[in-house]
């Protein structure tokens, strides 16, 4: 692969149809994986001897928590590519990922607190992971709010890219500072790391659900990036030549 062929894919005109062809694949993969994962999680996985059936929320909780952190890193990586190569598609990808990342963070927080009530006896403990997840939600909100506050999309792209990069440097620092703060204050009364070893079926279910979340995130990001491309490039020739635009 020469570098020029990579640049070819960074052009919205080339990427738009490719993304359109990829969306059904990832979408269906996500649906099938989610169905299998739900079936394993609700029907096959054994009941936990300590937590009863309450633990089954883990199948959505862990998947969304993984994705929430991973997507921030990917968003920052697209931002870095954008600042480095000035490829506008990278910025569009970063923009397309932010809402899904925020959604995953919110799901992780809500499922976490719903899980906390029956197991820890409280909806919210200032546990290191919960707290840093909450701050991650604030970081996503900041990126989205900054994007909405700037009218010029090119300035918004670059400002959000700088903010995402500053944020991604801070994420591990925030995580470890909160973790340390937590050990200083509370002791480890609510530790998940000391949980008993998981049954094999539970682990399988969790991994399948994580794959489902992964494919879902890719499908939705591609879908959103297509909308962003159409919106931003509506004046350009290639958009005017699209079948779906012509038929309107």
């Amino acid at each position: 692969m020469t570098s020029s062929s990579w640049y070819r894919y960074s052009s919205p005109a080339t990427f738009y149809p490719i993304a359109g062809r990829l969306i059904p694949w990832f979408g269906w993969a996500a649906a099938v994986m989610a169905a299998i994962g739900t079936w394993i999680g609700l029907a096959i996985a054994p009941t936990d001897f300590q937590q009863g059936d309450a633990y089954r929320i883990i199948f959505i909780h862990v998947a969304s928590a993984w994705m929430s952190m991973f997507m921030y890193v990917v968003m920052a990586a697209w931002s870095a590519l954008f600042l480095g190569f000035n490829t506008r598609l990278s910025a569009m990808m970063a923009q397309a990922m932010a809402p899904t990342g925020a959604l995953m963070t919110l799901i992780a927080l809500v499922t976490g607190s719903l899980w906390g009530k029956p197991t820890w006896g409280t909806y919210w403990a200032w546990d290191a992971r919960m707290t840093s997840e909450l701050i991650l939600l604030f970081l996503y909100m900041g990126v989205i709010a900054l994007r909405n506050a700037i009218d010029d999309p090119r300035r918004a792209d670059r400002a959000c890219a700088v903010l995402s990069l500053v944020g991604v440097i801070n994420v591990p620092i925030i995580y470890y500072s909160v973790k340390w703060w937590n050990t200083l204050h509370q002791g480890s009364s609510v530790s998940l790391t000391a949980a008993p070893k998981m049954a094999m079926t539970m682990l399988t279910g969790m991994l399948i659900m994580a794959l489902a979340a992964w494919f879902y995130a890719i499908a939705v990001a591609l879908y959103r990036v297509r909308v962003i491309m159409l919106e931003r490039e509506r004046g350009s020739a290639w958009v005017g030549e699209l079948q779906e635009v012509k038929s309107r």
Partner: protein, 236 residues
Amino acid sequence: MATASVSSSLDAGAVLPGVRWALVRDLKLAFRSRAELGVQLMFYVIVVSLFPLATTPERNLLATMGPGVLWVAALLASLLSLPRLFAADFADGTLEQIALSPYPLPALISGKILAHWLTTGLPVALMAPLLGLQYAVEGEGLVILMLALLLGTPILSLLGAIGAALTLGLRSGGSLLALLILPLYVPVLIFGAGAVDAVRAGLGSAANVSLLGAGLLIAAVGAPFAAAAAVRIALD
């Protein structure tokens, strides 16, 4: 953009004069509106004084809350003063001229940040032991409180400069700035307030203070460049 990066890497000898020029200029401007600086310090004092009224004057509880309250108030005071860092220069076009000057932009911004800290963070840090007394913080705790604030408030100014530059000229500037910057302040808050807590718990504050120092070094090296990039984005 290309010419800008060339000129900023052109002359390493222009870095310190650039810092000094921006520092002297901003300090001069700040001291011509001394009343504004006093208002900011009063904001800090008043916010700190509200907490016992809202909760309890009980000494043990106050001593537990004290460091946290003093730090949260310092965060808010820093946040309140951040728009001043670039907004006036941006509004009257000075910032554009500053960006065009032969001095490297990150150096000029470092000077502005240093001036911002000297006029907002430093008074807060110096005032803190007095307010700490009101919160039943005593002895070594007061020293560590001030030391932690001396190390931590420059980080607030450095990180805040990035947010202030990113939100230049935006409609919802002030509240948006809070949303962008407060989450990034979290580690400083934890290590800073934790330093005094650690003294109280008899653990020694060396780890907290060292981490604040490390954070200050990292922020001092990185933040001016990020803020300079953000200023250029705003000026485009």
